[in-house]
Symmetry: C2
């Protein structure tokens, strides 16, 4: 029948309940893997698997032999040199953020690259220091080794502090490396999927603000202690502005000039991208010029500006991390590990999509973890990747991590041989260079508006992430933002749009009743759709909406009916009622008794199904109640729940749903569930959802199937018995004279239900 | 057409795309309230609204005038006396948990009841101390005022410590009251919906374990300091077992006897519920007997047991809370506020459902907030409600809070007059009485198994909540459990079951292709269903599943095609290809050049739509490619995405979905979206989702509509042009000779796609 008949949708088939459909169409028995099967599969060993894991652990084994030497080596060399120069400058600059002497930044730019060369899966990112991470490590450093009063301590004292600080930075780095490695081993890389674009954008913007504020200290050359605690940024700004008069003018002027030059040249690089053979390496040029000027003008002596100073040549022997420091820095280590990995992975992701190759989040964790362990052991500080540096590596033609290793060689040369050339460079120049790269990140503010138009929640996530990360600090802020983001998912899932549907156009289409004029709602049938999963947080809401939609509370109706039955029994006993073929007839007025008090057992009795077996006649609740007895009117006989959007139910939801359905069934309202997912029935069956009142036969394939079924049933029953039109007319008089407080309340309820 | 035709589902209507349907069926223009409208409505003032708010603020104004004096007063008096006796004992017992002298427990059992009488909305709960809360306050108390070395300090010293402790407890209580009040004012009561049944069950079980452990100290009479920190329970147990030899045997024996009696009698109460006129008030009886024995046997002197001692008579003047303490206890205040409210509200909820009256979560927050503010001011400690006490109040016939106020009168009498009678009571008896109520809570362990069968996630929530609350402490544990619970919702939403559907039974039913034998999948059409909302955490998964389902990566195909086009252009230029009416014909072999390197701009070019306007002929990708040029085979022409379960899309998802759809459109695969929610189109339109490639016309009402549309289109196009059967036969030979590493990889991809 799936043949186009002109442009017509023509279907003729039996009305299918879920049961009937499964009878008619044989279902293949498929074995569904259980949780244990998956676990077994995961831990099964085989030579192939071992080989695969080994290869995955050393990606270099796969890509290095396939290296196309002739084609790629030139690009990689060019890229490596460019990246290496940037890495040197960034290493020096970011060391300032960590509050350690600049030369240690070179170690941070060297060791992780070597490790990443062997273990990394991205071909394009440049491992090494990242400003935000440096800032986070710096926070731990100044917390554990605070500044002594001011900078005018003796030289001896300062170097001791520096040594301690290097040790703390190395320990935190080592710790974060261990954490990353462990997370990688337990396959925790999936965590990255929770870092949504809005969150990353808000977070990196906040990071840029932090970097901006942290560099002010160097640009103005003011002694500002680090505040690594919630609202630290406010304390920092307060500290800066309280001593703004002590600004070193020479440093400020240099900074502004450098910033201006960098901005203008970068803008030109961007604008004439197509025309320039390569971007102007403005950072390198500025550094060389600034160092020359500083050396020849003797800026340090004349204007007391802070310079990089003598870089320590060569390497330090590896050291074991300080256990005492490790204990105090677990929080820092953790946040550094997560943030570092998150940044690196998101950058790597961008290039992996661009160049279409796979990266492996778990392997990346292992690579950066080992990188940090090695880096930390050699007194470097936490590494990840810097957006700008990776941009340089890729845009200057880097094809593989060969470019990375060559950039490490450049750093090595600086460490071993020509570091002294950088000695006269002003720290403020380094700070300005770091700031020069922030423009892009700060421009992300524009996203708030774009996101607001697309999706309000995403916009709010951006803002909350930004504010949390700026004010609570990057670590707590990230945690808070993540929690908030998860909450938004819950909230979205939790606010279903519950609508009453009706047939539009008299075919098999059911749409929101309020939206169309040409609608048809079968008499006595309510079609109710819930457009989200139902779970603990919205099951009550679902129930309320359903009650609003049908117009009465089934439990209340049930209790009233049971109360009415009690009265009828009593009246029959007293002889105030008599059974006639036409129904019950009042022979005497019901003697108004005060509403009797029900103890608890009897209240529970009221919630049971109405039991009329002991009565001589079946009561028709829609009609023929003896005078003085009223029950709320129920003018629907069937409810169809459209569950096509209900992707899951949890235990709370199942329990309350079962209870609600039962209440409806007990007041003779039939319940049908349409469009439920295929595994729904199985799951409900397993959970003992069904009993003699709630049966699997209430499941229908589509709303239309259920509606047709209901119409057919009504057709059969109405042709079988007398049409109850007349009775229906009577039953409208559901009015009673209120006699006291409670009764009047009942009556209101009752009138609402009418 | 909505008429039952026997048991047949018969439909004939046009094939509806979303657009066509909306043209044919007039949609009512409804004004949807915006966020601002809601806000305005929320803050609009009117006399009615003011009155309603005022009435809601003082529920007593509504229920007291409607009090049915004659009917209810007797029950309320009986209930009040019973509840009052329990309240006295619990007050004394729970004061031990707070580590303050027992008499302060009476204040905690008195003031909150008065306040709740006026402000509370539940008719049945008994406000007052709750063991878990007492424990939490007690944690703060011992943290701020630790025990001095051991109990053998001078009497003077002990009383000074006690005084300080009372002050701390009162301050924490006051703080939690302020927090509750504020939360109530900002309508934060909705938070209770996040406390799922599994979470509450696990949490209260953990609380019972804490109470159990905390009472051991009194039962054995050992000096155990409080450990209010993560893993505190382990430290406590360690402390107890390390000094177990110092146990006071008299206390231990008393405890065990009391426990035994209480358990047995409670069991009898339960078993002979129906036969007993009222439960045996075993706590009261045990207390009286124990006090008498202790007094006459002089237990304190002879066996050095700890007794309640002289209760301070009368009230203390109200005090302002200690600001210093407030600052140190913000965390405790917050967790006390939340836990206290959560417990009280969940208990109140149970009875409100049972007796069918509404309660208001925000008003409850206000009532308990004020109760704690007043209680704290009068040196009481944090109050909520105790399950057992509320059970007594309701089961002995309490109808309204009149019973509550009468129970407060009983407490008042003890405070003012007969407190001295309790002086000889052993503390260990109080501890055992508190333990006697834990059985029910500890029995909740059975739920783990029941939940596991119903819903694995719920079972895991239970276990995680329990473990977190036991080991991390109730406050941090609750936070962790809540976060974990939210995460489960995200995880559930995030793992969609993505299935490929096919027509079952040749009518309009589409089911999982793998499940049925009698299926029909229209040629070249993939019907793909995603059964959950799509958002940042699963959009990548969705894309991968879609790519797996269709069998090729559209971006890769697009890039191959664009590369092929470049080659064709080059070959045409060189004259190696010639255009004939039958297609392109190779006149010379394609000269194998080394794979040329593409710079970044050119890579991006590859992602653009294939542009053939400059070519003399339109390339048919399924066939007729010149020798040496290969592209992956694409053997589907249409994809239908069933979005009926996709309840929302976030910005990340929209961006990546748009990108993916575009990639498919660019390789000439038509995309249709069926069953999308009604507001979906509007939302996508607002988000600039549509452009010249992705059009709103791809939305169809149902899968079947889309399938019919596709078949019709194919029908038209195949009758309009020559049938491409022959060409199809040829295009299967998509095999090429690998020339080097990269090419061989391409070839594999390509063969996979074949």
């Amino acid at each position: 029948m799936v043949e186009p008949v002109g442009n017509h949708y023509v279907v003729a088939r039996p009305v299918y309940s879920e049961n009937l459909f499964n009878e008619e169409h044989e279902k293949l028995h498929r074995y569904h893997k259980t949780f244990w099967d998956h676990l077994k599969l995961c831990f099964r060993c085989s030579p192939q698997k071992a080989k695969k894991i080994a290869l995955a652990l050393f990606p270099i084994v796969s890509w290095l032999p396939a290296y196309r030497f002739k084609e790629w080596i030139l690009s990689d060399i060019i890229s490596g040199i460019n990246t290496g120069l940037v890495a040197v400058l960034q290493g020096l600059a970011f060391a300032l953020l960590v509050n350690v002497p600049p030369s240690y930044g070179l170690y941070a730019a060297f060791f992780p690259v070597l490790v990443y060369f062997i273990f990394g899966t991205s071909r394009h990112i440049s491992a090494g220091p990242f400003p935000v991470l440096s800032l986070m490590v710096g926070g731990a450093v100044v917390r554990l080794v605070p500044d002594e009063v001011a900078v005018n301590g003796t030289s001896m004292n300062t170097s001791a502090i520096d040594e301690e600080r290097v040790m703390v930075a190395a320990s935190v780095t080592f710790l974060s490396g261990v954490i990353q490695l462990l997370l990688g081993i337990v396959r925790f890389g999936f965590i990255v999927i929770y870092l949504s674009e809005s969150l990353i954008s808000g977070f990196t913007t906040a990071a840029a603000v932090h970097v901006l504020v942290s560099q002010l200290k160097f640009m103005l050359q003011l002694p500002v202690p680090g505040f690594n605690k919630p609202f630290g940024i406010i304390y920092t700004l307060e500290s800066i502005f309280s001593q703004i008069t002590n600004t070193n003018i020479a440093d400020l002027v240099t900074s502004l000039i450098v910033l201006l030059i960098v901005f203008v040249v970068k803008e030109m690089n961007d604008r004439y991208k197509a025309k320039l053979p390569a971007p102007i390496p403005i950072e390198f040029i500025v550094t060389v010029i600034a160092a020359l000027i500083s050396y020849y003008v003797k800026l340090e002596e004349k204007f007391n500006v802070a310079v990089v100073g003598k870089l320590e040549e060569g390497f330090k022997a590896p050291v074991a991390p300080d256990v005492g420091v490790l204990q105090k820095c677990i929080g820092d280590g953790f946040s550094t590990a997560i943030v570092g990995f998150a940044v690196a992975f998101s950058v790597a992701k961008v290039y992996s999509i661009k160049h279409d190759y796979p990266i492996d989040s778990n392997q990346e964790l292992i690579a950066f973890g080992l990188g940090n362990i090695v880096g930390g052991s050699f007194k470097g500080f936490a590494s990840s990747t810097a957006l700008s540096r990776t941009g340089v590596q890729e845009s200057t033609g880097g094809k593989t991590q060969i470019a990375g290793i060559l950039s490490a060689v450049i750093v090595l040369i600086v460490i071993l041989a020509i570091g002294f050339l950088l000695a006269p460079l002003q720290k403020s120049v380094l700070a300005s260079l770091a700031l020069g790269n922030l423009k892009g990140m700060l421009m992300q503010f524009r996203e708030i508006g774009i996101l607001w138009r697309k999706d309000k929640y995403d916009s709010i996530i951006w803002v909350v992430t930004f504010l949390a990360a700026v004010f609570l600090g990057l670590d707590i802020g990230l945690g808070a933002a993540l929690a908030f983001q998860l909450l938004t998912v819950v909230i979205r899932s939790q606010i279903p749009s519950c609508t009453v549907l009706a047939n539009v156009g008299r075919s098999n289409i059911y749409r929101n009743k309020k939206d169309y004029t040409d609608i048809y709602e079968p008499e006595g049938v309510k079609i109710f759709r819930c457009s989200s999963p139902i779970f603990f947080a919205n099951i009550e809401f679902f129930r309320e909406k359903l009650i609003t939609a049908v117009g009465f509370n089934p439990l209340r109706v049930l209790r009233k009916r049971n109360k009415a039955l009690r009265k009828i029994r009593k009246m029959l006993k007293k002889g105030e009622l008599q059974v006639t073929p036409k129904g019950l007839i009042c022979t005497a007025n019901y003697t108004h008794e005060s509403e009797e008090e029900l103890d608890n057992n009897r209240i529970e009795e009221l919630d049971q199904p109405t039991n009329m077996t002991d009565l001589p006649i079946r009561i028709n609740w829609g009609a023929d109640l003896p005078l003085g007895i009223t029950v709320p009117r129920v003018d629907i006989h069937s409810i169809i729940l459209d569950f096509s959007s209900v992707s899951f139910l949890d235990a709370s939801a199942m329990r309350l749903l079962q209870k609600t359905l039962k209440e409806f069934v007990r007041i003779d309202v039939d319940i049908y569930i349409a469009g439920a997912h295929e595994d729904f029935l199985d799951k409900l069956e397993r959970s003992a959802f069904f009993d003699e009142e709630i049966k699997p036969s209430m499941f229908f394939l589509t709303i239309h199937d259920a509606v047709l079924h209901i119409l057919l049933m009504k057709d059969i029953s109405s042709s079988a018995k007398l049409k109850p039109t007349e009775e229906k007319g009577r039953s409208n008089n559901c009015i009673t004279i209120p006699s006291n407080g409670l009764r009047s309340r009942e009556c209101t309820v009752l009138e609402e239900a009418c």
